[in-house]
């Protein structure tokens, strides 16, 4: 099997799986559905590994043109957009994450959804999502990426609203979809502008066309493209100001949250920025905006996470915050660390979500952390893997989060577009992260059990399943947890800071991720180094210092959280009472939703109402209704001719025929 065919197969097998589950296997047994869905991701994972360690490792770019998709006359020539797939080192990483984490989550979901009816729908959507995500990542041009971009949006919508009979879920789905639409508009505009500017949407062709002169001559355009891309990123990767959909998206099943809203889809913005890095770096404005938005999002979301009581909501805000870190990383020019953090985050956040799902599953859809506690004795595997995930995310030294986050923070200070202020924001966010994650872990797994035994909450048709005792979930659910825990521990070593590398005596110029992504980021690097002259302004001592600072902050905040909550969920009340107004503001998520409601949605509603009243009612309906009324008047006269007697009609035929012949005769 050659690599081109393999590439196509990677994309098409999940689609096939989705079609199979969606149409043919509707009434198939659950095990068949789950196996088909999981295999449809696992086989591409094998292919991805082959590609990864084969040609991609050797530095080649595999590309395959499936068919010519769009072909239009354009600016005197032809705009040909092939349905082309390509895999280079950047997309290979995402490929592994999507298919690898994806297959683990499919395996997990098969067990998690075991009490649901008609899971074929769920797995068909899930496979379809993977297909879309793969086309996003593998697309060789912006249009194919956009197809995937839209596809993941649709699948996300479908999966958030999976339990659509509950109106809140359906609303959450709609919210996600609409927020994404705003972002998609940005991507679309960026695409149009690059067609205008470069006459192509192919990444490699744009890269080739984008010379320094061109960039200098079209600086406003480049900036506009960058900002439009950023708008797309804020939509898909849940950044300020469009992040609002992601917490609500937790209404979907937990495996969906893990796969889509933690590991893959939300990171597509990071992918896109890295993919377009060669363009973004030409615009200082765009890069700075990206960095600022990322840093602000990181801190902002982290603060909200401090006070949430829903296990999934905490993780959701944590995800927003971590995405902010990644965007920050990209914004300061350290794209490779953004990608590294993307990868480690995919591991530990998927782990955390799956752990949360495991807890929720065992608790029969109880999500309030105030009603948990002490679960580690009952669910040791889930508990300890969750602890590993927590340690990873808060950046405990030696675990993956530590390395990737630390590199981002370091670059936020020293990077080409970095600034100490950005570092401060990031460090603040990291501090908050430590606090709420430790709070979450402690309240869920340690301390006294606060489980209400006779609660009447049975989610989603689980009435048959009367819960007796909370116990560990089967292997299909814990195996992914263990694998992900392992990855969370070791995954960070790809972005080991220089300072540690030197200390450890590793003699390499760059850490693994930088080395690996150097072909992708070469042109961006070049531009950045040209623009700033000196290669950063950091040093080993600064690196050590920052590392130490963040470790210290982490330890302090963790200890603070532990000391506060060792008495149970009430432990934070004293502080909450002390800053009552602020606490309530944060608890209401800074009232951003209400702000949007008042500033954007209500006025829009009024405008729509006006259009409806004037345009629709008066104008269109007036024409539509009055026109037929007039016609009716005319036709009612004519309809009297329609006697309903066939022979009367035939008389007309007869007359016509005779008249015709008479006319011929004369």
């Amino acid at each position: 099997m050659n690599y081109q065919a393999m590439l196509a197969a990677i994309l098409l097998i999940p689609l096939l799986g989705a079609l199979l589950n969606g149409f043919l296997l509707r009434s198939a047994p659950r095990v068949v559905t789950v196996s088909v869905a999981t295999l449809a991701i696992f086989i591409p994972f094998i292919f991805s590994c082959l590609l990864f360690f084969g040609p991609v490792n050797a530095g080649e770019v595999v590309r395959t043109d499936l068919f010519n998709w769009i072909s239009v006359p354009f600016q005197g020539g032809h705009l040909d957009i092939p349905f082309a797939l390509t895999v280079d080192r950047l997309s290979a990483i995402l490929l592994l994450i999507i298919t690898g984490v994806g297959s683990l989550i499919h395996l997990y979901a098969g067990e998690y959804m075991s009490h649901e009816e008609g899971v074929y729908r769920f797995f068909a959507y899930l496979n379809l999502f993977v297909f879309s995500m793969l086309s996003l990542v593998l697309g060789a041009n912006m249009v194919v990426t956009f197809l995937g971009w839209e596809g993941v949006g649709v699948c996300s919508y479908l999966l958030i609203g999976y339990w659509y009979s509950d109106e809140a879920n359906a609303r959450a789905g709609m919210k996600a979809f609409i927020a994404n639409r705003v972002g998609d508009l940005g991507f679309l505009l960026a695409m149009f502008m690059s067609v205008k500017l470069f006459g192509t949407v192919d990444y490699s062709k744009i890269a080739a066309a984008l010379t320094n002169e061109l960039a200098a001559n079209n600086a406003p355009m480049i900036t506009a493209i960058g900002l439009c891309l950023l708008l797309g990123v804020t939509g898909k990767s849940a950044q300020l100001p469009l992040y609002i959909w992601l917490p609500d998206a937790m209404a979907g099943p937990t495996p969906v949250s893990a796969l889509i809203h933690a590991a893959t889809m939300v990171t597509s913005g990071i992918y896109l920025m890295t993919r377009m890095s060669f363009l973004l770096v030409h615009s200082h404005t765009a890069m700075t905006t990206i960095a600022v938005i990322g840093a602000c999002t990181a801190l902002f979301a982290a603060t909200i996470g401090l006070v949430q009581n829903d296990i999934k909501k905490v993780l959701a805000y944590s995800t927003v915050s971590q995405l902010g870190f990644m965007v920050l990383g990209c914004g300061v020019g350290a794209f490779q660390f953004g990608v590294a953090h993307l990868m480690t985050h995919a591991f530990f956040k998927a782990l955390l979500f799956l752990g949360a799902g495991s807890v929720i599953h065992a608790m029969h859809h109880e999500q309030d952390i105030r009603k948990m506690g002490g679960l580690i004795k009952k669910m040791p595997i889930t508990g300890w893997t969750f602890v590993i995930g927590t340690l990873a995310i808060i950046g405990f030294p030696g675990l993956s989060g530590f390395f990737s986050k630390d590199e981002i923070l370091y670059n936020a200070w020293t990077g080409p577009f970095g600034h100490p202020l950005l570092w401060a924001l990031g460090a603040g966010a990291a501090a908050c992260t430590s606090f709420y994650m430790v709070r979450l872990t402690y309240l869920v797994f340690f301390g006294e059990s606060r489980v209400e035994h006779a609660h009447g909450h049975h989610g989603h048709g689980h009435d048959h399943h009367h819960h007796h005792e909370i116990h560990e979930n089967p292997l299909a659910m814990t195996l992914p947890l263990m694998i992900l825990a392992l990855l969370s521990i070791v995954g960070g070593y790809v972005s080991m800071p220089h300072a540690i590398m030197h200390t450890l005596g590793v003699h390499a110029n760059e850490n693994i991720i930088t080395e690996w992504l150097s072909p992708v980021l070469a042109s961006a690097k070049e531009v950045m180094s040209a623009g700033h002259g000196e290669e950063g302004h950091g040093s080993a001592s600064l690196e050590w210092g920052l590392m130490g600072a963040s470790t210290l902050v982490m330890l302090i905040m963790s200890g603070f959280a532990l000391s506060l909550y060792k008495v149970g969920p009430k432990g934070g009340d004293s502080i909450a009472n002390a800053v009552g107004g602020l606490y309530r503001l944060i608890l209401d998520k800074w009232r951003i939703d209400e702000l949007y409601q008042g500033v954007i949605i209500e006025p829009l509603k009024k405008v729509g109402d006006a259009f409806f009243k004037f345009g629709d009612r008066a104008l269109i309906e007036g024409i539509i209704n009055e026109g037929p009324r007039g016609i009716y008047l005319v036709t009612s006269v004519l309809s009297d001719v329609q006697s309903g007697l066939v022979r009367n009609y035939l008389k007309v035929v007869f007359i016509a025929m005779v008249a015709l012949c008479a006319w011929i005769l004369i």
């Binding site: 007869f654 007359i655 005779v658 012949c661 008479a662 011929i664 005769l665």
Partner: protein, 189 residues
Amino acid sequence: MNLSLLSFIVMGITAVLLSGVMITRRWPVSAAMVLIAIMTLLAGMFGLLEAHFAAAAQIIVYAGAIMVVFVFVIMLLNLPPEELRYGGVTVGEMILIAVSVFVAVGLGTKVGQGFLTTGLESMGVAQGESVAGGHHMYFPASENVKNVAASMFVDYLWAFELISFLIMAAVIGAVVIAKKRSAEHADAA
């Protein structure tokens, strides 16, 4: 005047007269039988026009199948003879009939002068020669069946396939329409 022309005229006149007889029958069965006779006569005329397959099909399909269904339904319903209500013919209809007879006779006087076919001359159609743009015969004129088949399955293949769908729809429709609904039985019971 040769034999085929003579027999053609006789057959044609008989057919027209019989059709007049047909539409004035009181018994449906009589009308159907007269119609079968007309069809047989037309088959003979087709034969004289050297459309042998058309002639055979006329008898097999029309007289042998379609009319059998007619007769079957007539016998199934076993309707009494219709009371003819010619009293209802209005003055306008009488004028219409008179005009039509006039036109028909007028047209008849022109037959034989190539009047009905003059339009074809301008289209470049001479007697018995292929029309420009028309579908030619593939085999000698004596191989009528082969010619028809070649034309039908080459030039008119799509039309043929579509007709088959039409027939399928008609069959299903006929069954659905004529079948007694089980719901009716349930109501009756």
